[in-house]
Amino acid sequence: MTLYLFYFLSFVAILSALLVVFSKSPIHSILYLIITFFSIAGHYVLQNAQFLAAVHIIVYAGAIMVLFLYVIMLLNLNKETEPHKTNLAKMAAVICAGSMMVVLVASLKGASYLVAKPGNEIGLVKNLGKVLFNEFLLPFELSSILLLAAMVGVVMVGKQDHRTQILTNTPTTEANKTE
């Protein structure tokens, strides 16, 4: 039963990941990416990582995907007329990705000899919290500083630059004056 669920979720994940790459409209790509993320959350639940599944849905489907859709709609990019690469470059991309997959599979193949240890309690909030706040306390605090720095940086980058606006406006006003 679990194995069938695994195959179903994997099929959905891979199919929608392919559709992310190959669909024409950016909005459709992002919507397929949301489907991929939900099936990955299903995989987390299959692996007894309930806390990570919840966090995954909240962070990715809730925050990051909304950000993507918001930017696409803000920039009004929902056109299917975007430029594409040449067929040669596309073929090279497919060959590169395929050979990289072969190399990765070949290098990771020996992992099935790993001895699985019993126990399915590690994904719960209690155990994760114990590890997170004892062993990984400093990285946890540093990640909060990272998020703060990212927030400040985004505000600084996204703000309209008044100086360049004045610089670009000045010649036109002077031109108007001379006219």
Binding site: A13, H43, P83, G98, P118, V131, L132, F136
Partner: protein, 100 residues
């Protein structure tokens, strides 16, 4: 219990699809989406190894990767919006102009 080989295959395929998208498309937003796909493939692999070895540290790493991914997407999309303001396009090939 699902054998770990299945998860290795799945996350390798997802990662390669992400690489394919980065190489295949010219739209910068889709490239960002494919980078997210690659991060998620790595997360999935890390969770499955942590489940197999019964070690919580893998899942804590996934937690940190999620935090970094959120920050990365926010900064990257802000840069993209600024680039769109200057060039009126999100075509990644236009960034050729950045070279010295």
């Amino acid at each position: 219990m699902i054998p770990i080989d299945n998860y290795i295959w799945l996350s390798t395929v997802l990662f390669s699809i992400g690489v394919l998208g980065v190489l295949y498309r010219r739209n910068a937003i889709i490239i960002f989406a494919c980078i997210e796909l690659m991060l998620n493939a790595v997360n999935l692999l890390m969770v499955s190894f942590s489940n197999t070895l019964n070690d919580s540290r893998g899942q804590v790493f996934v937690f940190f990767i999620m935090a970094v991914a959120a920050a990365e997407v926010a900064v990257g999309l802000a840069i993209l919006v600024m680039m769109y303001r200057k060039t009126k396009s999100v075509d990644i090939d236009i960034l050729n102009r950045l070279k010295g």
